[in-house]
Each structure stands twice: as C-alpha cells, then as structure tokens.
Symmetry: C2
Subunit: 170 residues, 2 copies
C-alpha cells in the first residue's frame, strides 16, 4: 500500500510518500515540498500548486492520499490559504479516482507518538525513527506530510472505511 | 466585457454572468447554481463543483471572473467549505488564463447599493433593478453571484489593476 501525505500550504506544501502494510514498519519512498511565490496572485499560486501536486501523483502513483484536515481556529489569513491549498490537493486526488482521507493534527500526533498533544519536534523525531532515517526531513512541512502518510497506513482498515465516507466514493 | 461572478459554496455555488461597460447598465447573460450533494465525500463534492464551474466557463467564455473573498469570521464549518469552493473556482479560472478578482461582501454591497452594510434583500432588489428583471433571481446565491459580476464591471479600470495584483498574472 503506497500512501501520499499532504501537509497543505500555499507557500510550502509538504508531500511525503510511504509504503507498507498495517503493523509493519513503513518505508520512505519520497519526500519534498511544493512551493509557490508569496508575491504571486492567488490564482497563479493555486494553479502552480495544482501542477506541483499533479506531478507528484503522476510520478508516485499512490493508492491513497491523506490530507491534513484544516480548522479555522488558527491565524485567519493563514487558515484561508491552507483551506484553499487543501482543496487543490483533495480535488487533484479525487479527480484521479483515488481515495482521500482527512486526518486532524491530533489524530496524526496520536498515531505517530502515542499522544495527541505531542509537539512538532516529537513528531519529527518519531518520523525519523519509524522510517529509519539518518535525520529528520526538512522543512517541517515535509516531515509532517510523512507523519500523515504513516498515520494513514497505521489506521489501516478503519481508515479505509473513513476514506470511503470522506472522499473516496468515486 | 463579459464577467462571470461566483458566490462560492459547496452545497450551492451561485454563478452569474453579465455583460457591459463601466458606467452603462449591464445586461444579464445567464444565472444559475452549481449544487453538490451534502452527503457526499469532500473529494467527490469538490470534483463535481469543478466540473460544474468548468461547464459554465466553457459555455459562457467570460473575459474575467469575480469571486467573493472569503473571511473566516463566520461559522467554522461553513467557512472551510466556502474557502475550498472558492479555491476550485479560482483555480479553474486561472488555469484558463482568465483574470480573477476577489471582492469582499462589503465592496459588492457598496458597489450595488451605495452602502457596504446593506442587507441581502436590498442587494437582491438592486440586482433586479439594475438588470431590469421581472423578479430577483433565486436562490440568493444566484443573485449574489450577479451582484459580484456587476460590482466587477462597475469598478472598471481600477479593478483590472486589482485583478492583475490578485490573480490575473498568467
């Protein structure tokens, strides 16, 4: 099972691809970031992000896509861009008929560290350990995208049902 | 100048197309709503919305697209869906190389009624009057989309510069 995780953002959108089966250590396939210029118009940024995500989906051919669920409790300006970036990622995946699952930051932290209130550093440490890497992937968005993909793998069969309910009906 | 206005939403996305020149009464070209089923997954809904908006752009061939700027001060659940729907509309337009302008609800109200604090009914009344219609287009999302398109037409040359800054660089 190959999963592509997306930590949505307009300036830096983290992408992480892992492979594995529930209960076994997952393997890193690829990790990176899609960037768009902060001084460009929103239309140009969303199209550039779409092109970047399409390129990842085409190159990696994942069987499922996991995207961080966005809440509006954070900074107003940031959350709008994050919500728009997540829409581009979800639409690109669903357009290809891929199941899309949304995970909250707490669900990801709990899956990776055992605590839904773990800090970013702890998540990065566990991502590094689980994937047996020499160092944590940078920037943090890339590491967070891997955490999302691992979370999706580990939640296994329950997650498949959730994906069907949330966006994998096509 | 033909403008397509979008009042973004997942359940009902208003679309209104008007034609005209600054300072002259605009003419109604077409108006309607793209709907997606509330019980479908977010992936399916965004793809259906994208297909609906693409069909409108293809059929109407507007020269510019005006989208309501989304703020996160409203209901948390609603605003996320609205932000995601707006991203789909902006991306679809920008992908075609169309200039995209964002207008706040206050800007639209001020352009149509003279007051940025006008209520929805007042906006609908003025849309009906300006376009010389027998009755206000329904649902309200359709009427609001026309108001956005009219606002865009009337803001004229200043708006073209704003569009360039906001999303029309492609």
């Amino acid at each position: 099972m190959r999963v592509l995780g997306v930590d949505p953002g307009l300036t830096r959108c983290g992408i992480g691809v892992v492979e594995g089966v529930p209960g076994r250590p997952p393997v890193l396939v690829a990790v990176g970031v899609v960037r768009t210029p902060p001084d460009a118009g929103i239309g140009e940024r969303l199209v550039l992000l779409e092109q970047g995500i399409e390129a990842w989906l085409e190159a990696q051919q994942p069987e499922a896509v996991a995207v961080e669920r966005v809440f509006s409790q954070h900074n107003v300006r940031t959350v709008m861009g994050t919500a728009q970036a997540s829409a581009v990622a979800i639409t690109a995946a669903a357009r290809r008929g891929l199941p899309v699952a949304l995970h909250t930051p707490s669900e990801v932290k709990a899956a990776i560290t055992g605590s839904g209130r773990a800090d970013k550093e702890q998540v990065a440490t566990m991502v590094t350990r689980v994937l047996r890497l020499a160092a944590a992937p940078t920037p943090a968005d890339a590491s967070d995208a891997l955490a999302l993909a691992i979370c999706h793998l580990w939640r296994g069969p329950a997650q498949a049902r959730l994906a069907a309910a949330l966006g994998g009906r096509r």
